[in-house]
Amino acid sequence: MARRSASGNLVRPFSFFRSGQRADAAASNRPILVLENVYKFFRPDVPVLRDINLEVERGEFVFITGPSGAGKSTLIQLVYRKHTPDEGQILFCGRDIARLTRASIPFLRRNLGIVFQDFKVVPHWSVFDNVAVPLEILEMPPRIVRSRVAEALERVGLAGRGDDRTSGLSGGEQQRVAVARAIVTEPALVLADEPTGNLDPHLALDILTLFEEINATGVTVLFATHDHSLLEARPHRLVMLDEGQLIEARQGLRGWGAEIGSDVDVDVAALDDMRVTMAG
């Protein structure tokens, strides 16, 4: 369980996942997320993810991209333990989350912020109620809940909109509510699964900027998207999934051409295919 400091800020242990367990000091020196030889099958002999190896450092912003059905959402879902990998391990803050018991999964999710393409906000609740949910789960006092929700809404540009009914908001505003809910507990890692998929290009860029602002405060962001314009616009580390396999471009789509000369592991043809596929 998260504890509060005297100032009311969340003190978030990372070697936890069960209420009452203490933080492991060494965990802060390790990558926040490590996937090692991860396989996921939904049908026998047809892996959705094949031998995935990935390290994400603290404070990184990583695009995960690839065509539809490539396994982007599955990768994200493995991290918040909607699914369990069939092989390999996923280390979050040094703990193998693939081996968590069902009862421990909620404690993992309390340390993540998750944003979806379809927003997953409760439409008949107010904006405040939607954003306050993670804090209520952490049993924060109402006074702290009010101040933290107000702060989160301000960060996403919805200051003073707490009493509005969520169903009355535009798509972009609903996604901002979802982002506010994801960051209100100041999680170590934010997972965004196609968060701009239902938004027009202008709003998509706004939302991306919002995630970058969140990332600038030290929060690690995994941003799954197949929107080529977003990948073109920002030079973040790029992880591409294609037919379940992972290809990386550390300097993003814009720098891929220069990078391939120095990195023999990068599959040039695959990146080229990806550019063609996604641009088309």
Binding site: Y80, A103, P106, F107, L108, R109, R110, N111, L112, I114, K120, V121, V122, P123, H124, W125, N130, V133, P134, E136, I137, L138, E139, R181
Partner: protein, 293 residues
Amino acid sequence: MDLKTTFARAKRGIKEDVRLYVVAVWTLTVAFLFLAASLLAMANLSQIADRWGQSGRLTIYLRDGARPSDVEQLRMALEALPEVREIEQVSPSTAREQFLDGSSVSGELAALPPDVFPSSLDVTIAPGTPAARLTSITERIARFGAVEGAETYRSWFDRVDALLAAAGVAAGIVALLVAICVIAVVANTIRLAVAGRRDEIEVLKLCGATDGFVRGPFLVEGAAQGLAASVFATMILAIAFVVLRAPVDTVLGTLAGVSAVFLHPLVVVALLVGGAAIGALGSALSLGRYLAT
């Protein structure tokens, strides 16, 4: 889990599905009313049985031509018994009059002469005298020469007791059926509520809510339904009892010498607590499938 948050979320859930809950509570009220009425009938039958069981009576039939001295000796022996409260000697003519007053007989029976009816002693026994003691007294009385026979009316009381036992079993079955009915209605109501709030449950689980956190408000909602229904049922029964008490008292007073009683306060408390518990159980049963996802 924070109880305040749980109750606040349950209150919000009820407000969102208020129409559904009104229908469910009404259905449950009918079921609980059936149960409470059965319990009320049992309480009053039991009271009648107690009353009859306590008003012990013994009729000693005297032989034809029994000598007055033998009858006097018998009377003295009875008076010596601590359980005997009153002795009344009934002559053949008095017995005939009582028979004709207490029944609508045809002309031929009305023409019966007094000597058809035996002389007897009507003995009033102290309330609460055990049946075994009454049997023992009857056996000792039968040894007196003036005694033709004795009637304790135990067989009648035994029948009433058997009837009450059967009524008790019937009430038990009704209680079981009502419990099943309540669980089914609550489970289905909560299932409908849960189906309508799947998005809410999904959001809660994605934000790290434990099963207990998700389940809590639904349990409160189920318990509230059961409690509200049992309260309404008790209130309706109490109102009906007050309205119908006067005519029922007249009938019961004439037949059994008792007045109608309402449910014992402990039974009312048990009904309310049981209603809440069954409501919560129905809710818990309906949630399992949704929490597994």
